[in-house]
Symmetry: C2
């Protein structure tokens, strides 16, 4: 599956979060990054969309919506002829970076509304173009995160960009195996270590399926 990340940020270079996202996927061959402020040929963007199955709009929350530069781009591209055919049956995802803690986005919180509610206009776009709308990926200011949380965010972001939609445990496991094989291929010095990890995952899988089998039998009795 190929993914197009459309970044709408007035100043990508100065954004620590955008750099974090960029580095997270720099070895991902099926991911294309598109900067709406740098590449102004709108027809070229439409052609890119044709070639990708998952389209992700990635932006910082500006006044409870995307920055004007991305809205400008959307106003243009969504009015092109043939755009319905381009977008139909594709996936639309949102990667939203927040200036405040995500727990403020709920009834009773300081921001009062959930991100799902605030992003309704994007959900309506997905609805309009018969696209499949993905759960929103949001990330609070990186300086609020611990080192572990930052690493978890990195993997979750990589999965959001490249993993199949259903997000089941099996798919997640498969995704992790593929990442390990990729690292093994590119970094021979880790070969043994990664082989051990892969074997461990496979043993865990066997154990898990034995447990599931036993549980099923117990239920049937």
């Amino acid at each position: 599956m190929k993914t197009l990340i459309v970044i709408g940020h007035p100043n990508i270079q100065d954004s620590r979060t955008q750099q974090f996202f960029k580095e997270a996927v720099q070895t991902f061959e099926d991911v294309t990054i598109f900067d709406v402020t740098a590449d102004l040929e709108i027809e070229k963007a439409q052609q890119l969309m044709v070639d990708h199955q998952r389209i992700i709009l990635q932006f910082p929350l500006y006044w409870y919506s995307c920055p004007a530069c991305l809205k400008d781009w959307l106003d243009q591209i969504l009015s092109l002829s043939g755009i319905e055919e381009t977008l139909a049956n594709k996936e639309l995802g949102l990667v939203v970076s927040l200036g405040v803690k995500s727990s403020e986005f709920q009834a009773g919180g300081r921001e009062k509304f959930t991100l799902s509610e605030l992003m309704r206009p994007f959900e309506a776009i997905a609805n309009k173009f018969n696209m499949s709308y993905l759960p929103i990926f949001s990330l609070s200011n990186l300086s609020y995160l611990t080192e572990i949380e930052t690493k978890q965010a990195l993997i979750k972001y990589q999965q959001y960009v490249s993993m199949e939609k259903s997000f089941s445990f099996e798919i997640s496991e498969q995704w992790h195996l593929e990442q390990l094989l990729k690292i093994q291929k590119n970094h021979p010095k880790f070969e043994e270590k990664i082989q051990m990890l892969i074997e461990e995952i496979e043993e865990n899988r066997d154990e898990l399926s034995t447990l599931e089998h036993s549980l099923k039998e117990m239920k049937e009795e």
Copy 2:
């Protein structure tokens, strides 16, 4: 009460709806119209906001939100220093013109979501700045409306812009009386006719209060 109408439309001159709105309030002395595409001095806009109690954002729905030109203006003005003090305790209204029938904006309708849901980002802005959020005024394409509906829309728009918030029957009646007195003053040839209308409204009011009084007595018995 003074009202500032902030229009966010990429091409006001060619919009029949925007011309309709403009003509509706051209004799209203307490109404100021501000075009975000024509007047680019952002500090001047902030000063205008200081002088007005009701601020209305008026725009055509572009992809379930405001056009990029208005988002750009909001991104700028809402980041100015002192803007919290400028906006606190004022009213925020939205006048949204629609390309499709408003009945499509509901669960099960073609657009799936209500306008209240789609406009959550504006409600969140009102929340953020301690503003009082008014019910949305929406208008479908004028060519869908009958002559009577168009006249009704005109009056409702005038009220939205200039009438006190609570929108009760008494306030509406008072508003109509004031409009008639204004016309009477500016058009002496209608003086008698308008005097008759005013008397009729006042008689109706007397009758209504008699009825209310009787009803109260009946309830007490």
